[in-house]
């Protein structure tokens, strides 16, 4: 499904390693399964050519990893950034989280990533190998022939409502630049807003009660880069490393969403990694939608140094009680 | 541009001129007045009492009708305009009143004063623009010295009508200028003519009306214009010796559409 090929990326990485522009490459490598792709830092060409992968399962957003790696690696790191990743990249620069000088960013186009659950829904369990080309070819241990799937049919939810195919940051661009898209990403939030409070409560109770507090959402979130997380800090007053009941899960998610409000670029990583398939992005999108409607359109990470709505104000802002009126009159 | 139009009882009877010239002038200026269907008399005066609901219903119906069309509601008669605008203000600001009215009317969906209420003069000034009016003048009224008589209902209460400075208005003077004539500013222009008291106490009305005419004449006016049939009636009845005409007639004349009428 991807228009850009693994070899194009490898060639570029090799070139930059060879000419000394960078000393390490932040890329994807295969995990336990073909579809289980994880981020990795390659510090030489051998490792790179042996393990680097690029396929329809390379959803991971690398921006966050730059904080850790730029502190350790001497010289520059090459990072491949899909359009949505560039927003996080910029946002972290806004927050001074890493040194731009230590990164060589190569923008790469993205045709949307595949959702393994949707693949499994088609082929069933027991996937033995996946080959991503024009089509996604899946073989399972139960069937002789590989199943061919069109990538468009198994797009990740976040990619179905992709907000932008345009990169907002890079040093160099591979492939063709896309456009900011007219996305329908707030439709689901609006659907929830239109429900009665009881329905909404039931919806969220059902969703959030599945939370196992594995912290994957937090760990993957490019906005959650705190040196020490409040949930692990006894002094914060909200420390809870494992939840005792559904309220604490709820509280964890509300506070997490509030902490990243205005900084969340809506990359969708939280929902992608959630093992319980909780649509966590709907919390973040609610904040984004509210802030857009109340304080004017704002896209975190669209430009470095922008001032997020919650660290800003005007004297004419609406009153807290009026956020409801706004919706009531809209409806 | 199309606007909803509330003519009022007098304009359909004793003040047909005011109505007909308004239509013609509006047409000449590219505005269509769409008369509200089945309008009912506004009642002539706005009853300030908070427990008067029924007397204001006809205004609310007209307002609602305009709102359903998404049009501003225009009237020419000062009294109608005053009643409708005050009623609309009450619908906006007096929740209790609006609640009762909505309960009573049971129209489709509540009405809370969303309609923009305009006097024909405001239509000319704010929607059409006096500059445009000036461009469309074919018979300049140059040389005429005209006094604009506002009376009370056009401007007051200022915080409800929001049409012009209630003590030192300029809207009719600006119109007179646009039509090529010379406005005569006189102090009694926003003083009462005696109004409906002429029914009860003709002497008081005569006193008030005479003061207006005398004051205008003293300032050199050779004509008085007004937007109110009752003002015109009182002034004329009490022996005004200079012409008292509706501002729409003057406008129609300047725009060259007056003769079509006759």
């Amino acid at each position: 499904m991807q228009k850009i090929t693994k070899n194009q990326l490898l060639d570029k990485a090799a070139e930059l390693l060879d000419n000394g522009t960078v000393t390490a490459v932040l890329g994807w490598q295969k995990g336990e399964f073909d579809y289980d792709v994880t981020p990795a830092l390659f510090e030489n060409k051998e490792e790179l050519f042996a393990n680097f992968v690029w396929n329809d399962f390379c959803g991971a957003n690398f921006s966050k990893y730059l904080i850790k790696h730029t502190r350790k690696v001497e010289g520059k790191i090459l990072v491949f950034l899909k359009p949505c990743d560039t927003y996080s990249f910029n946002q972290l620069l806004t927050e001074h989280r890493f040194d731009r000088e230590k990164v060589y960013a190569v923008g790469i186009p993205c045709e949307g990533m595949a959702d393994i659950d949707k693949v499994k829904a088609i082929v069933g369990d027991g996937i033995s190998s996946i080959d991503c080309g024009e089509k996604i070819k899946v073989t399972t241990i139960y069937a002789d022939a590989a199943v061919e799937i069109d990538g468009k049919d198994v797009l990740e939810g976040r990619c179905e409502s992709c907000k932008s195919k345009k990169h907002v940051a890079y040093d160099e661009l591979l492939g063709e630049e896309g456009d900011v898209l007219d996305s329908n990403r707030f439709d689901e939030v609006a659907r929830l807003e239109a429900m009665t409070p009881d329905e909404r409560f039931a919806f969220w109770q059902n969703e959030l009660s599945r939370c196992i507090r594995c912290n994957a959402c937090r760990d993957v979130c490019p906005a959650c880069t705190c040196e020490k997380c409040v949930f692990g800090n006894p002094k914060s007053g909200v420390e809870n490393k494992s939840p005792a009941n559904s309220f604490e899960e709820k509280m964890f998610h509300i506070i997490r969403a509030f902490h990243v409000a205005g900084r969340c670029t809506d990359c969708g990583e939280c929902s992608r990694v959630c093992p319980q398939n909780i649509p966590l992005h709907l919390l973040n999108r609610k904040f984004i939608k509210d802030m857009n409607e109340c304080y004017g359109e704002y896209q975190a990470g669209a430009e470095v140094g922008s001032r997020a709505p919650l660290v800003n104000y005007t004297t004419e802002d609406l009153e807290p009680g009026e956020v409801f009126d706004r919706r009531d009159t809209d409806a | 541009m199309k606007v909803s139009y509330f003519p009022g009882c007098t304009l359909k009877n004793k003040a047909k001129d005011l109505d007909a010239y308004a239509y013609k002038s509006a047409e000449a200026l590219g505005v269509t007045l769409e008369e509200i269907e089945n309008w009912q008399c506004c009642g002539g005066v706005f009853t300030t009492s908070k427990d008067e609901i029924a007397t204001k219903l006809s205004s609310v119906r007209a307002l609602k009708a305009a709102n359903d069309k998404g049009q501003p509601l225009v009237s020419v008669c000062s009294a109608c305009h005053n009643v409708i605008k005050q009623t609309n203000y009450a619908m906006q600001t007096d929740k209790d009143f609006a609640f009762k009215v909505n309960n009573y009317l049971k129209e489709d969906g509540p009405y809370n004063g969303e309609t923009e209420v305009l006097h024909f003069l405001e239509l000319l000034r704010d929607k059409i623009g006096f500059d445009t009016v000036k461009e469309k003048v074919v018979n300049s009224l140059k040389g005429k010295k005209i006094a604009a008589y506002y009376g009370c209902l056009l401007l007051r209460p200022g915080k409800v009508m929001r049409m012009d400075d209630p003590e030192n208005p300029t809207i009719m003077e600006d119109l007179i200028k646009a039509l090529g004539a010379e406005p005569v500013v006189f102090a009694n222009r926003n003083e009462c003519c005696g109004g409906y008291v002429s029914m009860e106490s003709p002497a008081l009305a005569a006193k008030k009306s005479n003061a207006v005419v005398e004051n205008a004449k003293a300032k050199g006016a050779d004509m008085i214009i007004t937007a109110c049939p009752l003002c015109r009636y009182n002034l004329v009845k009490n022996g005004a010796d200079i012409p008292v005409v509706y501002f729409t007639e003057l406008l129609a004349e300047a725009l060259g559409v007056k003769e079509d009428n006759k």
């Binding site: 909404r200 509210d290 109340c294 660290v311 004297t315 009153e319 009680g321 956020v323 | -």
Partner: protein, 144 residues
Amino acid sequence: MQMNEHKPLIVAFCCNWCSYAGADLAGNNRLNYPAEVKIIRVPCSCRVNPMFILRAFQRGADGVIICGCHPGDCHYTSGNYYTRRRMAMLFSMLDYLGIEKERTRVEWVSAAEGAKFAATMNDFVATVTALGENKRLEDLRCKK
């Protein structure tokens, strides 16, 4: 203990400069409001972290109200403007999660508005009493 009438627990965060002084003025003028209201003094309404509000709900509060200086009158010039945005967003989120929006409120009460403070508290307590116990956001484990 009477079970039929639920006495709500209300936490009120008041900024030191305006609203806390407004509450004092309500006292000076002997303006009654229910004892269910317990005030916590903060230097400015912008000191109120959403975590405090959630914590209060978690520990059994039925309503939380934040009082600050009127917009434009913040002792620190801009604190309440941030409060206004933060709380607007937080309240909207709580509502989105299905929590009764009447349980949270922001009111601007100046140091001169003792009467407003008392009236606000009376109204808020009445509103929250009508809603009943906060079941949706409390942690029963921590309730006595």
